[in-house]
């Protein structure tokens, strides 16, 4: 597999942009919900208002954002690398065909 770092970086950038477009809100909400469940498991329901309980919810939200953005970035890099590999392979095989001597029709 061809390793083109620039193509992978471009893919990661597109993945991250896509994350901001469609993934940020769900990531914040699901992460916060995960934090809420953890805090409820530790401090009990209804959740007390102290800093540790609130901090755990915020921590969950932050992890949700980090986790989802990481997935989008790596998936973008992988998709771009795969696409780059396919394009490079196709263009190489095209060049090889052009370079091949034409058979004499007679």
């Amino acid at each position: 597999m061809r390793r083109n770092k620039m193509v992978a970086i471009a893919g990661a950038a597109i993945g991250t942009a896509l994350f901001f477009a469609v993934g940020l809100l769900p990531a914040v909400l699901y992460g916060g919900y995960a934090g809420l469940l953890l805090a409820t498991g530790i401090f009990g329901a209804p959740l007390p208002g102290h800093i540790f309980a609130r901090g755990l919810v915020a921590f969950g939200s932050l992890l949700g954002v980090l986790a989802t953005s990481a997935v989008f970035a790596v998936a973008g890099a992988a998709a771009a690398s795969g696409l780059g590999h396919l394009v490079a392979t196709a263009s190489e095989s095209g060049r090889e065909k052009v370079a091949e001597p034409h058979a004499n029709p007679r």
Partner: protein, 534 residues
């Protein structure tokens, strides 16, 4: 023929008369007092106003209405305070006799008739205004609408307090799998009336209640064929407490602590590692350290790290875990606004469930493949103990943290698998075992309830969700950072695609493995590798 024409003509005349009579009323009772348009679209559109509102009949050719019955009078008096037309509400029973009879005997009817701390619900509280009741598209839509009406009262803190009702019914339902399916618009979602009954609803303590301990199994078995007492005991609106259900309670507490502590440690590790990477980059820019470690001439660009079997196992795991996560979270966080959109993407919540189960089977297949692979390696007398934690891992952790904190100038020399990779491996091992085991319990709860106590089934359900949180966040934050997003690797390591690691990365990250592969550093490659440096 004439025999049929006569009653048909009478019906037409009656309908015409009703319309004419209603027109008289509607001349004055206009919007906003009365929504004539909504009434015209309602199931009661063909009725005369005076059919319910007796005593207001302007049709001179019609006889005087009969006086209300004693029961109607009693109901009208009781609900007088909360209605502008109590007699009209009490009149519902004239057409809906059987429902009125069921309601009168129900816990709701008793509250209306008897002296209670809060007024009970009448027909309109559940069905809405009689002037705007529309025919629902299907039973599922009707059920969903009714669930919200039940919850409107049973989640109203003022009413719950005044009436001395259980405050747990609403939140308990919303948090249950039934409530989550309802929130995601499932047409099969059981609503309040599915288990508790509708017009004939009885107090839970009453032996007539569908969810009274003597009837609960039968009620559950309506949907869950073969349900047992154990199974029925797994569903309750009551919150988890140490006293009521200790095993599920302590499972929840254990996983909450485990997840919080492990994720905190992993994030601290990531932050420290990131700091050390930034330091390294600064040193490189200042020319204080080389950009890449020195490799001997003729050393290959990359070397094989994983074989084809390992790559396939990893791909199966990636695909299945990602699918499991994105099909699971909308149901877990059903109350979150984006969940409905996400499940719609999968073709609905039940379709998402099918995809989730298929992904679980793929994950199980990957685990079996891996165990088979280890067995074949063992049969070939190849080492399968590379992932076993050793004392040197403990030493490496200490040395690496010293490096993070600037107490040591170099990273420790890692072998083929560093301690964080061993952690990933065993976390997945534990995770797959827990997720697959508890997932089977969630998939076949009725079957497991035949042999396993309700508390274990409930604990398995809790462990499934909580382990999913831990696994997803650990994999996507910690694993993706370590493997792909560290500044020295960013944006991606290609090893997971072609199984090869660049030789300079091998020397940096797995120095002991590098020294083992290239014992004579000055001579460079062993000659086994095909690829060479350009």
């Amino acid at each position: 023929m004439r025999f049929f024409l006569f009653p048909a003509t009478l019906l037409l005349l009656a309908a015409g008369a009703a319309a004419a009579s209603n027109r008289s009323c509607l001349a004055c009772h206009t919007s906003p007092l009365f929504d004539a348009q909504a009434f015209a679209g309602s199931v009661h559109a063909k009725l005369e106003c005076a059919d319910c509102h007796r005593g207001f009949n302007f049709d001179l050719h019609r006889a005087a209405p009969p006086p209300p019955s004693a029961a109607e009078k009693a109901i009208a008096e009781k609900i007088g305070a909360k209605s502008t037309a109590p007699a009209a509400i009490a009149a519902c029973g004239r057409c809906h006799e059987s429902q009125m009879s069921d309601w009168t005997a129900s816990v709701h009817g008793q509250w209306v008739r008897e002296k209670r701390p809060a007024a009970g619900p009448t027909c309109l509280d559940c069905h809405g205004s009689a002037h705007a009741i529309v025919k629902q598209k299907d039973a599922a839509t009707a059920g969903a609408a009714f669930a919200e009406r039940c919850l409107k009262c049973h989640e109203d803190p003022a009413l719950v307090n005044a009436a001395g009702l259980s405050a747990e019914a609403g939140p308990g339902y919303r948090d249950s799998v039934h409530g989550r399916l309802h929130a995601l618009g499932s047409p099969k979602a059981p609503v309040c009336a599915t288990c508790h009954g509708a017009h004939d609803i009885a107090a839970i303590a009453s032996p007539d209640s569908l969810v009274h301990p003597s009837n609960k199994v039968k009620t559950c078995a309506e949907c869950h064929k073969g349900a047992t007492e154990n199974f029925a005991a797994t569903f309750t609106h009551h919150p988890l407490t140490q006293r009521s259900r200790p095993i599920p309670y302590w499972t929840m507490v254990f996983f909450s602590f485990l997840t919080s502590v492990v994720l905190t440690l992993l994030v601290v590790h990531v932050l420290l590692d990131f700091g050390s990477e930034v330091r390294r980059i600064v040193r490189q820019r200042r020319g204080l350290s080389p950009k890449e470690p020195h490799l001997p001439a003729g050393a290959p660009v990359s070397v094989q790290r994983f074989d084809r079997h390992q790559l396939v196992q990893h791909w199966l795991l990636i695909g299945s875990v990602l699918t499991l996560v994105i099909t699971e979270w909308p149901l877990r966080g059903a109350s979150i606004s984006t969940s409905a959109t996400l499940v719609a993407f999968f073709g609905g919540v039940h379709q998402a469930g099918v995809i989730h189960r298929v992904a679980a089977i793929v994950m199980g297949a990957a685990a079996v493949y891996h165990l088979g692979y280890l067995t074949v390696l063992a049969a070939r007398r190849e080492s399968i103990f590379g992932m076993v934690p050793t004392l040197s891992d403990v030493r490496n952790i200490y040395q690496n943290f010293s490096f993070f904190l600037g107490l040591r100038s170099e990273r420790p020399k890692f072998a083929r698998f560093a301690y964080h990779e061993k952690f990933d491996y065993w976390a997945v091992f534990w995770g797959v075992a827990i997720m697959f085991g508890t997932g089977l319990v969630r998939w076949f709860p009725v079957l497991f309830a035949r042999w396993v106590p309700a508390s274990i089934i409930e604990a398995a359900q809790i462990a499934h969700g909580d382990e999913a949180t831990l696994a997803a966040l650990a994999l996507f934050v910690w694993h993706l950072y370590n493997v792909h997003l560290r500044p020295s690797v960013f944006p991606m390591s290609w090893t997971w695609l072609d199984g090869r690691i660049e030789t300079h990365a091998l020397k940096e990250e797995h120095a002991l493995e590098y020294e083992k592969m290239f014992p004579d550093k000055h001579n460079g490659a062993t000659g086994k590798e095909k690829e060479t440096r350009p």
